[in-house]
């Protein structure tokens, strides 16, 4: 009798813990899946009702860029990657890369329920009302309220290789970009390692990966942002396989932090 009781209790607790864990793990998996889906569907722009067309009261990309900081902005765009979703006392928070045909947007801590976050897929159209902000050079929309709309558009990666190190690169901030024919350089002077956990190697598995690549004699540092692509993602694993001297093609999003800080989502041998 006692054994049966114990078994029933253990079974109940196990089932509950499994279901709770499975529920809590979803957002991370969803984020990784979204990025991988973006990689898989990086086909030419899908046609939908003219991605640059805006509803009434919505800013064009040009108007958005011209808007002053800390003013309310209303935009329409299409999800290109979902970075993270989490929640604290202040409510749910989602971070999203988005684009229309004219340019890119970065939504930081958008107010999106977990249910809506799961509905957002690569290509999903939405309207966002938030505040234009700048954090360490990154132009973004904060505290945006999002409404999902009908329509789909997946951007092609813009080849920004030739713009690396130039003042023109910033015009593509937050865009889906590619860098081609990049040579992997040592992650630190005098080291054979091709990547570091965290910027100085002080991190561990699961933390951001930092690696150096060069083109035309100049070296650039790229990042695998662990919230955008966690350690289970293909790109995280691919970067850990890199060897100094490898020549690779990269794709990612042109995040900005005191300068270009591309968040890489795909690494492949150069074609």
């Amino acid at each position: 009798m006692k054994k049966k009781l114990a078994i029933a209790l253990v079974f109940a607790c196990t089932m509950m813990s499994v279901s709770v864990y499975a529920e809590s793990a979803q957002p991370v998996e969803a984020a990784a899946e979204a990025v991988e889906a973006a990689e898989d569907t990086a086909a030419p722009a899908e046609e939908a009702a003219a991605p640059a067309a805006k509803s009434e009261g919505v800013m064009t990309y040009e108007e958005y860029m011209a808007a002053e900081m800390d003013t309310e902005v209303v935009i329409e765009a299409y999800v290109q990657a979902k970075q993270s979703w989490w929640e604290d006392e202040q409510g749910p928070k989602a971070t999203i890369y988005a684009q229309d045909e004219d340019g890119a947007y970065f939504l930081y801590n958008a107010v999106v329920t977990q249910e809506d976050y799961e509905k957002l897929e690569v290509g999903t159209k939405f309207k966002a009302t938030g505040y234009k902000s700048e954090w360490s050079g990154e132009i973004e929309i904060t505290e945006a309220v999002i409404e999902i709309e009908e329509g789909s558009f997946t951007a092609e990666a813009f080849d920004a290789t030739a713009l690396l190190g130039t003042d023109d690169l910033i015009a593509h901030q937050n865009e889906k970009v590619s860098f081609k024919g990049m040579t992997v350089e040592p992650a630190q002077e005098g080291s054979d390692a091709a990547y570091l956990y965290s910027y100085d190697g002080s991190g561990s598995e699961g933390d951001d990966l930092y690696f150096n690549v060069s083109v035309n004699g100049a070296v650039y540092t790229f990042t695998v942002e662990s919230y955008l692509c966690d350690s289970s993602s293909d790109v995280y694993k691919a970067v850990k396989e890199l060897k100094v001297g490898d020549v690779i093609d990269l794709e990612g999003f042109l995040y900005w932090y005191e300068g270009a800080n591309p968040h890489i989502t795909s690494v492949k041998a150069a074609q």
Binding site: L9, C13, A25, D70, T223, E258
Partner: protein, 553 residues
């Protein structure tokens, strides 16, 4: 170029834009807490005993192998990682039968979440870097965290005990102010590991260029006045002071600390030791109006709104940058660590001061920095092994080496008095690495103000209160930047919203109980499942009884 782009933090100045690390999702944290509670409840119902209360074994068994885990936090600083690794090697050489597995974190929030999750599954680490605020939550389960009183005082294995191979400090050699911060409910549940405070890193060159003389003690009035004086622009819309389009004269990293320290300096309410909330008072409102006024002119901003104070300071875009002394290596023209490109760094003289004060004669500043706690295990020998390692972390070798990585100070008078440490302090400015002047100035500043430091009371909910204090400033600053109307009605709503958001309403009375708000739907489903399971079990028991009686008859 180095990167700290993930908006992380150096110290207790947590919960800003870096919070993404806390993304490990409240859903899972809440579920873990709930599961922990349910497991405790169920075991209680069946008369099972809780984890046995720890008592110090008579002797440490050196014939048996022990594997212990140490969850450590570093400030995204490879030197700190190296010191942890070296400490483990040295300790294992002293105690070959103890093996220490290191797990590294760069964020306190993440350690906290992981500990909570692992309490539920009884897979906590043995030794953990922590904040006393967090321990208050860990102590939700009984005998989870080891009280250290008995261990500290044990004549064989206590601090300075006769049987330890570690050159640990005696209890009296731990700075009393720092040790007292680790006391909860009359018992020590942690020992201090490192201490820091906040410092104001000042572009002295700019202050003097504006025609002011930098005082030894900054006052809030002085900082506001100089900050506003710096806002003058030329015909090309550049700031006259730096000739750039960007200038934020005063940037504060942790607005939690900003509000807490301002209230302490004003001798105004924040909270009592029993958890009654005093934050939402008229002094707070006055402070918010003043802060908001300067946020509105853009003379003041915060880390969450604009970015790291160090980046603006080093680019000649900030005059007063307040950040932890544990961030000193990022501050100044010659800072060994820097996130901005070399071409953006400007030449200026950096001065280190205490945070701005209302009363220069009675300075008050927050004490912060990591502490160490031990988690209880079935085998008291394993706990004792953890304690021996903890003592090693308090030895001069570790204390001095780690403190030198940033503007930390060792937590023992024994380390302070050590010739090696005194030599280190005396060599400020000899290079821009180990002897970086700003870092050593920051450490010296804290050493000379240890008696002026304070901590806020720790209780279950004190973390939320701290977050709420910073939230008030962030909200007002953002609203003023957005040209919203910040008046009494705004403040009233802000107070009300903040109390609700952080579940602080019920703590306004002396209840000491926290209203956690309505249960999430997942939790409700979980409880419903549990109820159904119990009904099924009872039904089974009754049916068995009925069946047996029927058989007997």
């Amino acid at each position: 170029m180095t990167r700290r782009s993930d908006r992380q933090t150096n110290d207790m100045t947590k919960n800003r834009r870096a919070e993404v690390p806390e993304k490990p999702r409240r859903a899972s944290l809440f579920a873990a807490l709930l599961l922990l509670g349910l497991c405790l409840l169920l075991s209680g119902c069946h008369g099972s005993k809780d984890r046995t209360e720890f008592s110090v074994p008579e002797a440490f068994d050196e014939s048996k192998e022990y594997e212990i885990t140490f969850w450590a936090k570093n400030d995204t600083n490879i030197r700190q990682t190296t010191i942890y690794e070296q400490a483990i090697r040295d300790f294992e050489a002293l105690y070959p039968n103890i093996h220490v597995n290191l797990r590294l974190y760069t964020d306190y929030g993440k350690i906290y979440n992981d500990v909570i999750t692992n309490i539920a599954t009884e897979t906590t680490p043995n030794v953990c870097i922590t904040y006393p605020d967090h321990i208050a939550t860990y102590m939700t389960g009984s005998n989870v965290v080891v009280p250290l009183d008995e261990l500290m005082d044990d004549e064989n294995y206590g601090l300075g005990g006769s049987e330890t191979k570690v050159d640990a400090p005696a209890k009296e050699e731990i700075i009393p102010e720092f040790l007292n911060e680790c006391m909860l409910g009359g018992h020590y549940y942690a020992v201090p590991y490192m201490r820091s405070t906040e410092a104001c890193y000042v572009n002295k060159t700019f202050v003097e260029k504006l025609g002011y003389e930098l005082p030894d003690v900054l006052t809030w009035d002085f900082v506001w006045e100089v900050s506003e004086a710096a806002m003058q622009k030329d015909a090309d819309d550049n700031f006259v002071l730096n000739g750039q389009k960007v200038l934020i004269p005063f940037i504060y990293k942790s607005t939690d600390n900003m509000m807490i320290q301002m209230l302490k300096q004003k001798d105004a309410d924040y909270s009592t030791g029993t958890g009654e909330i005093g934050l939402f008072n008229d002094t707070t409102k006055e402070l918010l109006y003043t802060i908001g006024e300067h946020a509105g002119t853009r003379a003041f901003s915060t880390f969450k709104i604009s970015g790291y104070p160090a980046n603006f300071l080093n680019a000649g875009q900030c005059i007063f940058a307040v950040d932890s002394t544990a961030g000193a290596t990022w501050m100044g023209t010659d800072a060994p660590l820097c996130d901005i490109s070399e071409d953006k760094i400007v030449e200026f003289e950096t001065a280190v001061r205490t945070v701005p004060q209302f009363d220069p004669a009675g300075q008050k500043m927050i004490s912060q920095g990591p502490s160490i706690c031990l988690f209880n295990k079935e085998d008291p020998q394993e706990v004792l092994a953890s304690w021996l390692f903890t003592q090693y972390l308090l030895s001069n070798k570790v204390q001095i080496a780690y403190s030198e990585t940033e503007g930390y100070i060792p937590v023992t008078s024994k380390a302070h008095a050590d010739a090696e440490y005194q030599d280190y302090l005396s060599r400020g400015g000899e290079d821009n690495d180990k002897y970086y002047s700003v870092k050593i100035d920051a450490a010296q500043m804290l050493l000379s103000h240890t008696g002026d430091t304070f901590v806020t009371p720790v209780f279950n909910g004190s973390t939320s209160l701290r977050d709420a204090a910073g939230y008030l400033i962030e909200c007002v600053a953002k609203s003023m930047r957005r040209k919203e109307n910040v008046d009494d009605a705004y403040m009233q709503k802000l107070y009300s919203d903040t109390k609700a958001l952080y579940h602080l309403e019920n703590r306004m009375s002396a209840s000491g109980k926290t209203d956690l708000g309505p249960l999430p739907s997942g939790a409700k489903a979980l409880i419903a499942t549990l109820v159904v399971v119990w009904i099924l079990i009872l039904a089974y028991v009754i049916s068995e009884q009925v069946r047996k009686r029927a058989k007997r008859q």
